[in-house]
Symmetry: C2
Subunit: 449 residues, 2 copies
């Protein structure tokens, strides 16, 4: 499609371009812009209506936003900033270099500038930092008809009209009312008669992850945010909550793969940043795994006598790592979704023990059969001993791995650390040490080395 648009621009068929742009959904412009040249983007952008332009602007990548602002006249910039919702303006300011920020702040009125400064001051990833200050508010004594008049007058400037909030004269949050209730009720009754009292709300300081979870639980389209005195200061809308959910999931994926989480996309992150985010855990884990090496060194005599033992090290390490990462993943995810509580720790242990025994016995049996067929002829007498050693090691490894994998994330949570760091990589390193130690201990005893 972007080729058609490029041609229309080249041939200066502005009216055709105009009507083509009308058929494109706002949400599709950002990916379209990625394919186009800067001058083309500017031409297209100037053909859009003010509302659509602002809507699209908020969703653009920050480098394209910066390019556009650099070609904007002061008036154009003011038009865009006027149409942006407060939370989007704040996001924009956080991404732009100082010179651009200065121009943006110059283009907003004094009262807006005050709000922006307040929003910028909320801690990162708090409800205050992702909320918007544009919401519909009623007084409890307003009639529904008056409520509709307020919406009609100010609705376009508000991020959502689906749910409105009721405050008293000191701006205390008294209730919330769904537009559905208003539409099916008599126009003359008062808002307070249909509003939901004691509405669920969050403090500005609450972590965004918790806010997102509450959307999931309460099925709201917007969540009111209050300050410590219960005064309504903003709302978080559900589209931002979805972004938070995805962001937090990505963060967990990255932490669980032993990386420092990173808010940018894969390609936006430079090679050096990628390397920096990955190297720290790699070093920690590499140095930790030397302990496993030290254990092996101690048993030099054992594998000098029975060299085949060495060939089983990868299998035991991999199986231990996999067993542990299965358990830790389930527990980390369960904790994240509030399906598992810290007080469940003994239920988890008991469950993991039973699963580990079943899984361990199956792994041991399959491996014994394999050892019999693979080594039966070569090692004759030692084959049964080898089967016993490896089989017992696998059962013990499954038990250790599932316990370590199940319990460590819960301990992390108890210590107010993120359970996601107790994932596969760290669990693997810990389980490695235990299982290799168990392996050689059993081998030395059973085989009389």
């Amino acid at each position: 499609m972007f080729e058609i648009i490029q041609n229309l621009i080249k041939e200066k068929k502005i009216s055709e371009l105009h009507s083509m742009l009308d058929t494109i959904n706002s949400a599709d412009f950002p990916s379209l812009f990625e394919e186009l040249e800067e001058e083309e983007i500017v031409i297209i952008y100037r053909l859009l209506t003010k509302e659509k332009a602002a809507e699209i602007f908020a969703e653009l990548d920050s480098d394209i936003q910066e390019k556009l602002i650099n070609v904007f006249t002061d008036k154009e910039l003011k038009n865009v900033v006027d149409e942006l919702f407060m939370d989007d303006t704040v996001d924009l300011i956080e991404e732009m270099p100082a010179s651009v920020v200065k121009r943006i702040l110059k283009s907003v009125g004094a009262s807006d500038r005050k709000v922006i400064n307040e929003l910028l001051n909320y801690p990162e990833d708090s409800a205050g930092s992702i909320m918007t200050t544009e919401f519909i508010e009623f007084k409890a004594d307003n009639t529904i008809q008056e409520g509709f008049d307020i919406i009609r007058k100010t609705g376009l400037k508000k991020e959502t009209v689906y749910r409105a909030y009721v405050v008293d004269n000191s701006r205390n949050l008294l209730g919330s009312v769904d537009i559905k209730e208003m539409l099916i009720s008599d126009r003359n009754i008062k808002i307070k008669e249909i509003m939901e009292s004691n509405p669920i709300s969050v403090l500005t300081s609450v972590d965004q992850e918790k806010v997102a979870k509450m959307f999931d639980k309460y099925n709201y389209v917007a969540m009111p945010v209050v300050d410590k005195e219960n005064r309504l200061v903003g709302i978080v809308t559900i589209d931002d909550a979805i972004d938070v959910i995805q962001e937090e999931n990505t963060e967990d994926f990255e932490k669980m793969a032993a990386m420092i989480p990173n808010e940018d996309t894969y390609f936006k992150t430079g090679v050096l940043t990628h390397a920096k985010n990955r190297i720290i855990w790699l070093l920690v884990l590499m140095l930790s795994s030397t302990f496993t090496g030290a254990i092996i060194e101690k048993y030099e005599a054992a594998f000098a006598a029975v060299p085949i033992l060495v060939a089983f090290i990868p299998m035991i390490m991999d199986t231990g790592g996999n067993c542990g990462s299965q358990s830790s993943t389930l527990i980390i995810r369960g904790l994240a979704l509030d399906e598992i509580k810290i007080s469940d720790v003994f239920k988890v242990i008991w469950k993991e023990i039973r699963v580990a025994i079943i899984v361990g016995i199956i792994l041991a049996l399959v491996t014994s059969v394999r050892i019999y067929f693979q080594y039966g002829r070569v090692y004759a007498g030692q084959t049964i001993n080898l089967s016993i050693v490896v089989g017992l090691t696998l059962i013990a490894t499954a038990l250790i791995a599932k316990l370590v994998g199940g319990v460590l994330p819960m301990i992390a949570k108890k210590l107010k650390l993120d359970p996601a760091i107790m994932a596969a990589p760290l669990i693997t390193t810990i389980v490695d040490m235990c299982s290799i130690l168990v392996f050689f201990q059993i081998a030395v005893r059973v085989m009389n080395i």
Copy 2:
């Protein structure tokens, strides 16, 4: 809180109980019910208003739903089912045993039964299977006032009134209109003048994951679902989209930890099912890792001559696994969020090569220093050789791991497999083989074994 409620029930203070229940948000009942006895739940449930009862019922765990239905009279059951939205009724039917399903179907009218059967027939995890059939629809020639009358008459029975849909006489989807637009427009103009034409919609057969992603992209509160003839058959609401996002993320976490994904929570899943979901990949990976063992066997002479080599096996395996899982996690997540496309494969390769070289060199240097201090005195002459062998192996391992981890998920996607299976466990197994082979190859050459 549940103790107060239990006491009120015990003391039969029904009116106090009643007013206490009024203050509890519907979304908090499910967790409350988990703490109470069956008889207490029934007493509380019967004190709720019809609407609130249905709203809460939809969110309950299926075992509590079943218990409640078993004590319901036919009339009570009909009341609940009448109030439930179609998608919730279908979810309920899918969870209940046959005898309960029979009673539920008996309690719905013939036309509803037809709709339910249609909904049950959509493939699992398709848009059709998660949509609801209760939406507001207008004709293009309706005025806005007529639109409001329709909402007033039928609004309570519809899952959302925030966005309504416009269809022609053959039920073709013509447009959609946001309640905000209706509220700020003149009551006498026609719906078609304010509706968004060519609205984004999905086919009934589209995968739910794709539907959820479109919510994220288009910031909709509801997504219309059409059949092959573009006839509107239902809508998916945003609260269900959030559930899908969480479900799909959990599925990815589980797949990436080498498990068969499971829709139930950790505690709801029995020990045998847990074992079954985990054992298959454990067996596959355990048997695959015997190849690494076979490689080690081939170099028996090498580690018989220089036994210290064995002590480095865990470190090389772990580091390779961690390097690979970092890359594969980033690529799998990038693919899931559409931030990375299959056509980006060469960009990924180039990026991973550069990251791998930086990371590999740092790992190699740190390890060389460690080897010097740890073994400098004992192995004297061999120390430098050992440093060279391990250092080169680490650089090669980082390269192999990052390439395998980066590319395999993209190949999986190209082959229409789920990239999430190409995660840490499988990558680790593959990288193990390569890195151990490289290690001994380099060792044999450098150390002249």
